[in-house]
Amino acid sequence: MLGILPAMIRLGITIYLLLLVAACRFAPPGVTNILIKGSDTEVNLALSLAESYMEHDPMVSIAVTGGGSGMGIAALINGKTTIANSSRAMKPQEVELANERGIHPVPIVFAVDALALVVHPELEVDALSVNEIGQIYRGEITNWQAVGGPDLEITIYGRQSNSGTYVFFRDSVLRADYAPALMQMNGTAQIVEALRTDISGIGYVGLGYVLDKQRQPIEGIRIMDIAVEGSDEALSPVEVSNIRNGAYPLVRPLFQFTDGPPEGELLEFIQFCLSDRGQELVEKSGYYPLSPRFERYNKQWLHE
């Protein structure tokens, strides 16, 4: 009876090794695999960049998956992805944790995103200030009347706590915690879906998601104009110039995190993302190309 156990372990190891050999056989020789994981906001953009890159370099295979910025960063820390896409910066604890495991995250900004505040098309409120948005999401304003709208309780929609957008919005607009009444939706699509029918609702989404191919707002929802201060002119994010010149307040950099400065095929892919062709795809996906400030920021990691 006891003699069986070592035999079984040996058998197990043999099967494992056989599988390992088989797995290696299936990957064509010389092909570099790049895994991209993370932000749901960036997943379509990452896909189109990856597809375009693989067309001109068949020796690289890139796999893109979503899951949320937090998920991507966790995967990078655990050594399970080559690139973590994130719509937020890494937290100090996350960098610390990564360093403990011998991983040194390098942040590269590859696109700029604008957030849009979205409401039902029939809601009669045209513009909000950043301060008012904060008050609404902190739960200090709970009726549309307080911001010049109808007498209607506000329903606030946001993303789940593992979303980079959730954290970015909290840290840069609310600067405090969300009201407990926040409806934490399972993805951008659900926020838009909810706002199509909910006249009392307000939600934040990546701008790219609510613009069509001609960069016009999609049907069934309305994008709010936003003022930096209550007295300023409210600006629409649909006007590209408002974002390019930095006047529209709700913009954020989108990151690709790698372990250490990228090298070889990985560096080539990232340089493709930052090239004119790559930035063209960025614009096509509804985001904004890098401003000189971010280009300078990237230079520190990317030596030619």
Binding site: Q93, T155, Q160, Q184
Partner: protein, 296 residues
């Protein structure tokens, strides 16, 4: 002689294998419970039990001070489950009684597979229906701004637990001996009184088992409530409040939580609490079922 010996040996091995099969699932159950308790207990190194069990605020990755109160999500889970049972139990028992006692063989042959097919719908699909169909419908008939609330979750969970309840309850009703019914008819009972006064009470222990299985399905279901019940972390004020259940909280937060932090351990504590809750319901139900058990 040696033939007999081989037989004894084969008998012993078979016994061992069957005992192993039976103990295997118990072992897994115990393993999960011990792991949940072990990790969950570490929560209390940094969070006081009073705060954990009696605070309604849950925000472990807060901008300001983190809070770890589970009361709101426990209330949400109970609210949604009770709502689901209020809908599914009368419907389920009614359907089971119809299938077992009233329906003709042909009708039964069509209905039964159809009901079982209901169990095959993936929970994401049910959740999606909750968002695009049930939600707007509820908003319209109750004049709400939106229909993503506890009631929506209850309706969907009721639909998901119906196949379990109907199938198990129907078996219980069919296994009531014909002699019981014949006795009732002999005493002048009509089909209705026979069903309600004799057959259903005789099948009570099986029906309660059916309800408990259905409730287990409802209390543990994650994706559907995560999608359609609104996911707000506040304490629910009623069936029209958006709620986030214990399962939804674990599913949303466990994917991104840094390993070994109070947040990480507290999610295991929530899991352990959910386990204890459903175990408690099962034990109570066993007790009730035992009281109703007839020897036939």
């Amino acid at each position: 002689m040696s033939k007999l010996r081989t037989r004894f040996l084969a008998d012993r091995i078979a016994r061992f294998l069957f005992a192993f099969a039976a103990l295997f699932s118990v072992g897994i159950l115990l393993g999960i419970f011990v792991m949940l308790l072990y990790n969950g207990a570490k929560t209390f190194e940094s969070v006081s039990p009073g705060n954990f069990f009696f605070s309604t605020e849950w925000n472990p990755s807060a901008y300001g001070e983190a809070s770890f109160g589970v009361l709101s999500m426990v209330a949400s889970t109970l609210l949604v489950t009770i709502g689901a049972m209020a809908i599914a139990v009368p419907l389920g028992i009614g359907a089971a009684a119809y299938l077992a006692e009233v329906a003709s063989e042909r009708v039964r042959e069509i209905l039964k597979p159809a009901i079982e097919l209901l169990a095959a719908i993936p929970s994401v699909a049910v959740g999606f229906i909750g968002i695009v169909v049930v939600g707007p419908f509820l908003a319209k008939i109750f004049n709400l701004s939106n229909g993503l609330n506890a009631l929506n979750g209850s309706i969907l969970l009721a639909v998901m637990s119906l196949p379990t309840i109907i199938t198990v309850a129907e078996d219980a009703i069919r296994s009531v001996p014909t002699s019981f019914k014949e006795a009732s008819y002999a005493l002048g009972g009509n089909p209705w009184t026979t069903l309600v006064r004799v057959t259903l009470p005789a099948a009570a222990s099986g029906i309660i088992a059916a309800v408990i299985l259905g409730m287990g399905r409802a209390i543990g279901e994650t994706m559907t409530v995560l999608m359609a019940a609104g996911n707000a972390t506040g304490f629910p004020e009623g069936f029209f409040s958006p709620v986030r259940t214990m399962t939804a909280t674990i599913a949303i937060e466990l994917g991104e939580v840094p390993f070994g932090t109070p947040h990480y351990y507290s999610l295991f504590a929530v899991g352990a609490l959910l386990f204890i809750l459903s175990l408690g319901f099962n034990l109570i139900a066993e007790r009730i079922a035992a009281r109703f058990r007839y020897n036939h």
